[in-house]
Amino acid sequence: MPERGRLARLMRSEGVWLFSRSPAAILAAIVTVLIVAGALMAPWIAPTNPYDLASFSLFDGLLPPAWEEGGDPRFLLGTDDQGRDMLSAILYGARLSLSIAAMAMAVALVLGVGLGLAAGYLGGRFDAVVMRIADVQLALPAILTALLIDGISRGLLPRDLHDDLRIAVITLAIALSLWVNFARTARASVFVERQKDYVQAAIMMGQHPLRIMARHILPNIVGPLLVIATVDLASAILLEATLSFLGVGLPADSPSLGTLIRIGMQYLLSGEWWILWMPTVFLVVLVVAINLLGDFLRDLFNPSLR
């Protein structure tokens, strides 16, 4: 009975009602779900597998989209310089970008909320140390973190792990430059919740600090963190693209959206407009949708705005 109850309660809840009233949020949600679904099912719905080098040939290079003259029906959105089908490359790329962004978000969430929660709750020296670490992290631009991790991991790990290492490097680099947001938000929310009576009661009863943080405070600060999460998911995807632009990104033979855009940049003026604009438009639509969802969540969790 409780399961149906919870679902029923969710359906009637304030959030869903508000959601049904704002067209932008609905559109954003649909677009996001479509893109994520498309990306996740890439191996099944994409015409070819762009990571399998034998599946495309150089002869089909630089073909315009199918509807343009000179286009090839096999390649709906045309091909890139290598003869890779743009549609498949974008779907696989989106899958890679989204998985990297999601993994980076997860790491940043755990690291940031963990440290932020502890800093806010324990205060004093621990708080100062965490905040100074945050300063150090803010001072290091994402590109440097990527370089640092790439270098260290290349130095420590055996050679044959090097290529699938690159994805881990990028994920960690992005995560490291995002956790500070979560730490600061979590810390600020904990300061507020710590004064509330239900936390004072838990302290008085002698509950273990970890349990107080995890079971009592954390569920109550999920709201603002969720908002940061959606906004940062968008910036994580963009960051991956920028890192690729600066030459620290993913290898070219397993491209992410960012790598596709970097490759596309070389053809900006050379007439093959689709190599750049297809992935860029896809990225923009995805990021705008996620940001709109983030805005909606921010308004939902910010009671004063309702």
């Binding site: 034998a54 290598q82 030459g247 290898p251 070219a252 033979d253 940049m265």
Partner: protein, 524 residues
Amino acid sequence: MFNRKIPAAAMALSTTVLLALPAAAETFRWAGTTDPQTMDPHAVNATPVLSFLNNVYEGLVRRGPDMSVQPSLATSWEALPDGAGWRFNLREGVTFHDGSAFDADDVLFSYERGVSEPSDVRSWFASVTDVVRVNDYAVDFLTSAPNPLFPGSIANFMIMDEGWATENGAALPAREAETHATRNANGTGPFMLDARDPGIETRLVPHEAWWDTAEHNLTEAVFTPIGNPATGLAALLSGEIDFISPIPLQDVEQVEQRDGFKVLAGLETRVIMLGFGHDHEALKYSEETTDENPFLDPRVRLAVAKAIDVETIDRVIMRGAAEPASQLLPEGLSGYSEEHSERPEFDPEAARALLEEAGYSDGFSFGLMCPNDRYINDEAVCRAVASMLARIGIDANVNAMPVRGYWDELRAGNFDMYLLGWSPGTFDAEHPVRFLAHTPTERLGTWNFGGYSNERIDALLAPIQSEVDPVARQVMLDEVAGILQEEVAYVPLYTQPLIWAMKENVDVVQRPDNFFMLRWVTVN
């Protein structure tokens, strides 16, 4: 769309330039991807630096538009009896930019500076035992063995004024801290250094008292580095700069169609090739065959050569601007072996057969290491090679990385196959043999990462270097080229194109060594 510019054509252009009298005087603004890191001619032996400084300093000899060796600060030179060295007769009446006179002392001083420890150009004088001052205007370079190509090999050895250098504490190139010569210059060349803002802008003005007649009509030349290719192209198309090199291959067509601009597409003296790990017992990046190295079998290497369709790579990736290569140096350079100018033709079936014959019918996977920002479209070529090899069953996983870490990885042997481009400094066939084919030692074979070794080739290097008779020298070079082709030590792919873009009213001379000489530039 492209007419293949062979060096001879460049010769034709230069003659017309000589006749046309310089018209209106102009400020000439040009850009490149990297800023020359120093103004000291002996500090760094790298093309961007030497090319720029060739406008400010001059050597005893210089190279003409067609790479021929011409007199410069030396009016003439003759070989000393029984190959003991060379005598150079110096030009009289030449003054440095600050007015001081040029004589033999400056040559001796520059030689001492060039072979000093902090200098980076010591390798040019490897065969020189001593330099003797004959009189004010004659100097002898004594070599340990006869060296027929010596004069040509010191074309970039630039002469500094002894007085200026010693007064300003620049007797030696900078070790750790910069010296006066790092940001200032006092040469005898056609242009003087007017202003130097490292990494931002460098300004040259003509040297009025230059000993040679000026063929250019420039009153001022300003160089600015532009790292991002797209921005560089925009700078040209917006008219803010008059000339830029290089521009991306894929933009050549657009620039040519736009009125007011033109493109000069020739060939650089750089051959792009694939190298193997000859001294690797086993593959390092293979998922399955981890106990042996298939590439040790020449048949497998030949299969690789036959599996790669250089024509298609040229058509799609290089837009037809490249030229298939058969050996370690491009056609037209001295010592090129006409005998072995046929490269293994593209035949995937034969390649698969060879693999079968060698016992690898079900193929294997390996690591292909490439730079992604060193040669034109290097990463794209690597990916193309990988997909072609995948067609015959051997899967390359491409690891493209920035060049800054690339040489480290190759030197550490972290590859199964690698991409390499080589441009011979002396524009002669001996150069690639000395650095790529010879067994690696302290001084020789320093870029032979795969550790390829062949006694015959090692034995032939010294004779080639000292053989005076060109015919005998060519026979030996042909033999070396034959062995390399026979054993498929490397798989040469193509000669890299050289793309310069400029405004319609700008005429320049494009030299295959990618040196940009201001003295041949006219803006009309």
